[in-house]
Amino acid sequence: MQLLDLNNVTTKYGDMTAIRDVSLSVAEGHIISIVGSNGAGKTTLLNTISGVLPSAGGTITFAGKEIGHLPPHKIVEEGIIQVPEGRLLFPDMTVLENLELGAFNRRSRKEIPALLKAVYNYFPKLEDRADQLAGTLSGGEQQMVAIGRGLMARPKLLMMDEPSLGLSPLVVKTVFETISKIKSDGITVLLVEQNVLQSLMISDDVYVLENGSIILNGQGRELLNDPRVREAYLGI
């Protein structure tokens, strides 16, 4: 069953077309990756799905329901949760407060203790740091809080925008392991990344975005040595 369906979605900034006629599908229970170099439109795509940006054309369907016109907080209620680029934690709140805010939406509010337990299961280190101000954590720890905050929202679809950005290789490895674990817990993941190798390794399906359009689509590991991916990134 296709959980999320985008059909010819176009988004503009003023009259600059950031993404053009993008069509993609996310199957339930899978990890779908969108890769592409900077400026390709990956974040715009996620923001359009999240309702932060209005789409200028096309349809977005989630679990059979048209969601393209909904405001951001309603999209969150539907179960589409975004872990934004740069983590964007609430710096003057503690780890615990950040996590609790993740459960702001109606479905999650009643189940905070159980949800917290699950998040601490993923990231035991966070339990020790529960009362520490989020702004004082290291990059890797912040990423854990960001992902945890996303999980607290009981996502049906978890969208992650460049979770490996600015992290050391070892931490990046941990992040991708976590993503695999999330999948095995039954949560569908839409992953946007610049780190191609790791994404291709864990993904079931991959889309390559270049200059606002999908230029390539295939199974993760098949695309591993495809020269077209290389060309999309390096031009040669």
């Binding site: 999240s50 932060v52 405001p71 951001p72 907080h73 969150v76 209620e77 949760i81 975004q82 934004p84 964007l88 934690l89 609430f90 710096p91 003057d92 709140m93 407060e97 609790e100 805010l101 993740g102 702001f104 939406n105 509010r109 905050r149 929202a153």
Partner: protein
């Protein structure tokens, strides 16, 4: 001399608590919506007149009238945000500044029209009462005002810390995009924050009236006090407003005594410009 100073400290702190209540709404509004409410003093004036009317027509004790004032002013603020502020949130600062200035103009001159320029106040049975501790006097209305102010501020801080909407307000002030992604309804939260800010200044008006008097332009006097406190405390720190309020109360008391009661205003306006220039983030603010 020591006794004089202690008395001044007592008076200053009591007043400072009230000042803190006056300004905390302004801090909240600026912290969340990033606009300066230039009509803040005028909202105070409206509240004082409303308290006066409730007392005159229903004999309602000013402190009791809080029961009416708090919800009425919350709704008042909520409505103003939705109608006037919200459309201008993405406009250049000029439009935001003059929208609230326009509001202030309207409020103070409608008051002038309705009530004329006379000074009015309320006198209760305990208006002139004093509690005596040894050599020190504590004015009863001031004490009550202080107690109510501190109670309301504490309630506000607790609300922001513990409730979901309160946390949403804090989150929105810190990181707007992430707040959106948590499922926080940004526009509704803005309106609630503004409403709470106005409710605070409304409460301040109700407890101020027995201590002072109201006339149509009383707002401008207190507006600038509020601005000084907000800047001193750190324009996005609520705790800062509390501390700064107490400090300003003390400064007013001391400068009124040692310099001149008339020039105390000059003192903290100069202080205001000083802070804006040398430490715009105030005592507790963050850049």
């Amino acid at each position: 001399m020591v006794e004089v100073i202690i008395q001044l400290v007592i008076n200053g702190l009591l007043l400072g608590g009230l000042y803190a209540l006056l300004s905390i709404g302004l801090t909240l509004i600026f912290g969340v919506l990033e606009i300066v409410n230039f009509a803040h003093g005028e909202f105070l004036m409206v509240s004082m007149y409303l308290t006066f009317l409730l007392f005159s027509f229903f004999g309602m004790d000013p402190y009791l009238s809080l029961i009416v004032i708090l919800p009425v002013f919350f709704l008042f603020g909520y409505a103003i945000e939705k109608i006037i502020i919200k459309p201008l949130l993405n406009d250049p600062p000029l439009n935001q500044i003059f929208a609230t200035i326009g509001l202030g103009l309207i409020f103070s001159n409608v008051a002038l029209l309705l009530f004329k320029a006379d000074f009015r106040t309320v006198k209760t049975s305990y208006s002139d009462a004093n509690l005596i501790f040894g050599n020190f006097f504590v004015s009863v209305p001031r004490l009550i005002a202080f107690a109510i102010a501190i109670a309301l501020i504490a309630a506000l801080l607790l609300y922001l810390k513990k409730t979901f909407t309160g946390k949403a307000i804090r989150a929105l002030a810190q990181q707007r995009k992430a707040a959106m992604l948590m499922g926080i309804d940004v526009h509704r939260t803005y309106a609630i924050a503004f409403g709470i800010g106005i409710a605070c200044v409304g409460a301040a008006g109700a407890v101020l009236l027995p201590l002072f008097f109201v006339f149509p332009t009383v707002g401008s006097l207190f507006s600038l006090i509020a601005f000084v406190i907000v800047i001193l405390g750190g324009y996005n720190s609520l705790a800062g407003s509390l501390v700064a309020g107490l400090i300003i109360g003390l400064i007013e008391g001391f400068s009124g005594f040692f310099i001149s009661p008339h020039l105390k205003e000059v003192v903290y306006f100069v202080l205001f410009i000083f802070i804006l220039i040398f430490r715009p983030t105030g005592l507790f603010g963050k850049r």
